[in-house]
């Protein structure tokens, strides 16, 4: 379902490629294919173990809704990791911003748009604050995150007085629990498909004009057909159970935005360059601190989104919201192929990583696996996934 919004960037200007590079390129694409195969296997197993209950549209709908919060954190986190940094404070910040949202909504009775705007703004501010410690004051991001993890959790406890704030207004709850009507879902799917076709057509004509190599028509057509099939299966399954959940739609929208930033913008390119070699990037005349600051600010905004959805889902601001959220997000990025050393990673990879984790959570809960086993399995999967990545990239040293 990622294919729908993730317009593959198609490496600009391919010349004739020798066999070895083609294999390597296939390998790097294969990574995401391998991950999707892993997801399929996990789904197949749980479907078998639950006599098909796992694959009902109701459960799939729940699964996607469950992954939306970690997914939002992972979107911000993957930029942080690509830039060669880490942010451990996001779980606590999610909790804090979710708590602030609950206070604004419940205690202050602010209208929904104002609440959302204020929380997003606060997220950006706190993210920028984290970023300033890293860029301006040169404190390693690991330490800044560790400090933030404690401090923001403390702030949340202080703000809520240690007790749950409930119940949220009805309008607010829609962000976490609502559904888009099936008809709207269908219209959206068609619009996305039209947009994809238009983008493909424009790229082709532009490449022809600049006399660059154009991929064969059947290939682009096949890609479009595949996208269409994935898109409609996705929408159909979710429509079967009330429509696309609002947080899932929000996550998909953000995925599109982040994918676009990563592959199509100057800012995105600079993030990769900084993660790969910050010194060379700086000496090329790029303001690396500004880019890193923006990455941290974006992370803060994503914490705000995740906090809003989380509070809306629970219809309450909880002092324990988002505990260990940072670990899930970071794990998802690494499962999705991001590198500890920076410079490597994809947005869609991180989201498939989240899907792996969410599927494990959901499936294991369904077959009544003890909570302690769930943690052990998730831990093992993380290490195994990164090991597989190390082995496959080590082979082409």
């Amino acid at each position: 379902m990622n294919a729908s919004v993730n317009v593959s960037p198609a490496p600009a200007g391919q010349n004739r490629t020798p066999g070895s590079t083609r294999i390597r390129q296939f390998f790097s694409q294969y990574k995401i294919v391998a991950l999707l195969v892993a997801v399929a296997l996990i789904w197949a197993y749980f479907s078998y173990a639950t006599n098909g209950a796992f694959l009902t549209s109701r459960n799939i709908s729940n699964l996607f809704r469950q992954m939306s919060i970690t997914g939002m954190l992972a979107l911000g986190m993957v930029f942080i990791i690509i830039a060669g940094e880490i942010d451990l404070s996001v779980g606590s910040l999610l909790g804090l911003l979710g708590g602030v949202a609950a206070i604004l909504d419940i205690s202050q009775h602010l209208p929904l748009p104002v609440t959302i705007l204020l929380v997003l703004l606060l997220g950006a501010l706190v993210g920028t604050f984290n970023g300033l410690w890293v860029t301006w004051l040169r404190v390693p991001s690991f330490i800044v995150g560790l400090g933030g993890m404690l401090a923001y959790r403390g702030a949340l406890l202080g703000a809520t007085g240690g007790s749950t704030i409930a119940p949220s207004s009805d309008a607010f709850v829609v962000i976490g629990q609502g559904y888009v009507s099936p008809a709207t879902g269908n219209v959206l799917a068609v619009l996305i498909l039209v947009l994809l076709a238009f983008v493909t057509w424009r790229r082709r004509t532009a490449r022809q004009r600049l006399e660059l190599k154009v991929s064969p028509v059947w290939m682009d057509a096949a890609k479009l057909v595949a996208a269409a099939v994935a898109l409609f299966v996705f929408v159909h399954v979710l429509n079967d159970y009330g429509g696309i959940p609002v947080p899932v739609l929000l996550l998909l929208g953000l995925l599109a935005v982040f994918s676009f930033i990563a592959t199509q913008t100057v800012f995105g390119r600079h993030i990769y360059a900084i993660g790969s070699n910050i010194e060379a990037t700086r000496l090329s005349g790029i303001n690396v601190d500004r880019v890193r600051l923006a990455v941290f600010a974006l992370m803060g905004v994503m914490c705000a989104f995740a906090g809003l959805v989380n509070t809306a889902r629970l219809a309450a601001g909880s002092p324990s919201a988002g505990i260990n959220g940072e670990l899930d997000a970071i794990a998802a990025c690494f499962i999705g192929g991001a590198s500890m050393r920076g410079g490597v990673g994809t947005v869609h990879g991180a989201l498939v990583g989240v899907l792996v984790m969410a599927s494990l959570d959901n499936g294991m809960s369904m077959i009544d696996v003890d909570a302690y086993w769930q943690m052990i399995v998730k831990g093992l999967i993380l290490v195994l996934a990164v090991w597989a990545d190390v082995v496959s990239s080590g082979a082409r040293r």
Partner: protein, 524 residues
């Protein structure tokens, strides 16, 4: 101990090392394609070839970095097949390699480095420091080196001394064959002299050497025979007595190189960059001035060379002008007469000043990115509207630039780290030319670059000057400074010790100026 085993090999007079038909494939590409190489005990074999010719791959095969079975052909040491699966296996057979980038641990002492992994222990696994210090001192004494305190941390010694420590380390492993990979690339002239005399001494003691270097005068001086490889193939092995450096170059490039420096007439105009009172403080020790109140001017269409020994403050000077000096610095700059305030490379580029840094791997390439995006990195916004890159326009631009500067890569999206040094350098140079600078600073523009690319870079520099660009070239290679420059500044100890018009200027003049102060090893 090293001498005993070496003497044994010397007596039987056979080949110490015999590599036959070595072939190493990367995918479908043969990096080394059927190379034979013989080294006799007590001889120094020069291994020459352009970057990317396969020298390093061959030496990695020999030293066990590529394990037995990952290549074809056989390796005999003293007539016995060597099937090294790890570097330790080849070391056990008496083969040691000293890499271009030295592999010492800066925080450990000289002794600890020499014995790293093979520490002399006492009961209970405790380090026997007295015994190790004694042995380390003996090794250094055998090499005729003084001025090294074996209990000091290695970081207190400059690269010249570090190289000597590496040699002592190799000898402590009873190495009978030492491979030197570009040993003099970061040494000063005097340090290189010491190195060459030590290699000669090693030969006398029966230790064989393989000397890999682009500096052919060194090869000619110290080597008995020379093996040349090109494109992974064995081109020939000759006795040094029957060769001169020009012939080696011909074998390396497979064609007669024209003159290295084809000067192009260029007119020198008014002053473009004026830097006054540049002072840089040492990063670790702010009391020490690395650059001490230096002023310089460079004119339109002028090529200004900056010569000097390592540690003279050249790199510090130009990086301060570019706004990139890591420590505290002050400088007053004027570009075309207007005062400019440059405190970051970003400001420098905006003011029309670009720099290609000295250390390509550390400061130049963005290794995981393709060659194309590496080139457009400095001016990416040019191919973007509202922050969104027009991928097609960008691709069009880097295809064009790669063709123009002859940056050879199978595919512009291929990670730049997989290219040869020459192509990497041309790509970084292209990146810093794209902002259309008025002043271009080149710090060691041809370090670790093969002869062919070197010539292309020289031609480009003359071409840029003839089109009115002001160019500053910092170089440790005196022939390069003399071949390129219109005017030469010589630095020593953070100051300018000479300002010469390059008219009949000789290397000796530059060296005399550079040596005006007695040269000290950098003891921070």
């Amino acid at each position: 101990m090293a001498t005993e085993s070496a003497a044994r090999a010397g007596e039987n007079g056979d080949c110490l090392l015999d590599m036959r038909g070595i072939r190493k494939m990367f995918g479908s590409f043969a990096a080394v394609d059927g190379v034979d190489l013989q080294v006799r005990a007590g001889e120094c074999l020069g291994l020459c070839g352009e970057n990317g010719a396969g020298k390093s791959t061959l030496m990695k095969v020999l030293s066990g970095v590529y394990p037995y079975g990952s290549y074809e052909g056989e390796i005999l040491v003293d007539g016995v097949p060597l099937q090294a699966h790890t570097v330790a296996d080849s070391e056990r057979a008496g083969i040691a390699i000293i890499h271009q980038e030295l592999m010492l641990v800066p925080e450990l002492s000289v002794t600890e480095n020499i014995f790293l992994g093979r520490e002399i222990r006492r009961f209970g696994g405790l380090m026997d420091y007295p015994a190790m210090h004694q042995r380390a001192e003996a090794l250094l004494r055998e090499l005729g080196i003084d001025g090294i305190n074996v209990a000091q941390q290695v970081l207190h010694y400059g690269s010249g001394h570090q190289q000597l420590i590496e040699i002592a380390k190799a000898l402590s492993k009873e190495a009978r064959l030492i491979i030197f990979d570009e040993p003099s690339s970061s040494l000063t002239a005097t340090e290189t002299r010491t190195l060459l005399s030590i290699v000669a001494d090693l030969k006398r003691r029966g230790v064989a050497c393989v000397y890999i270097s682009h500096k052919l005068d060194e090869v000619a001086e110290v080597c008995d025979r020379i093996t040349v490889i090109r494109d992974g193939k064995h081109i020939g092995t000759r006795s040094m007595a029957e060769l001169d450096t020009a012939q080696i170059v011909t074998m390396m490039v497979g064609r007669e190189l024209g003159q290295m420096f084809e000067r192009k007439p260029h007119t020198i105009g008014e002053v473009v960059l004026e830097a006054s009172n540049v002072t840089c403080l040492d990063v670790m020790n702010p009391k020490r001035k690395r650059v001490d109140n230096v002023s310089l001017q460079v004119r339109k269409g002028e090529i200004l060379g900056i010569a000097g020994l390592i540690g003279a403050g050249r790199t510090e000077l130009v990086s301060a002008i570019y706004g990139a000096y890591p420590g505290t610095w002050s400088a007053e700059l004027r570009i075309e007469g207007k005062p400019v305030h440059i405190r970051s490379p970003q400001a420098a580029v905006a003011a029309g000043l670009c720099m290609v840094p000295e250390d390509r791997k550390r400061d130049g390439i963005v290794p995981l990115m393709g060659v194309g995006p590496n080139i457009t990195l400095s001016v990416l916004h040019r191919y973007a509207r509202g922050g969104v890159i027009d991928g097609n326009r960008e691709a069009h631009a880097f295809h064009h630039e790669m063709k123009r500067l002859n940056v050879r890569a199978a595919n512009p999206m291929l990670p730049i780290a997989s290219l040869s040094g020459g192509n990497q350098q041309k790509a970084v140079l292209t990146r810093m030319l794209l902002p259309d600078p008025k002043v271009l600073i080149l710090d060691e523009p041809t370090r670790g670059v093969d002869v062919g690319a070197k010539q292309e870079i020289y031609r480009l520099i003359f071409d840029l000057a003839s089109r009115g660009m002001a160019i500053i070239v910092v170089s440790s290679e005196m022939p390069e400074v003399l071949g390129l420059s219109d005017r030469v500044l010589v630095m020593a100890d953070g100051r300018i010790r000479g300002d010469f018009i390059n008219d009949g200027l000789r290397q000796e003049d530059l060296l005399a100026a550079a040596l005006e102060l007695p040269h000290r090893i950098d003891n921070a």
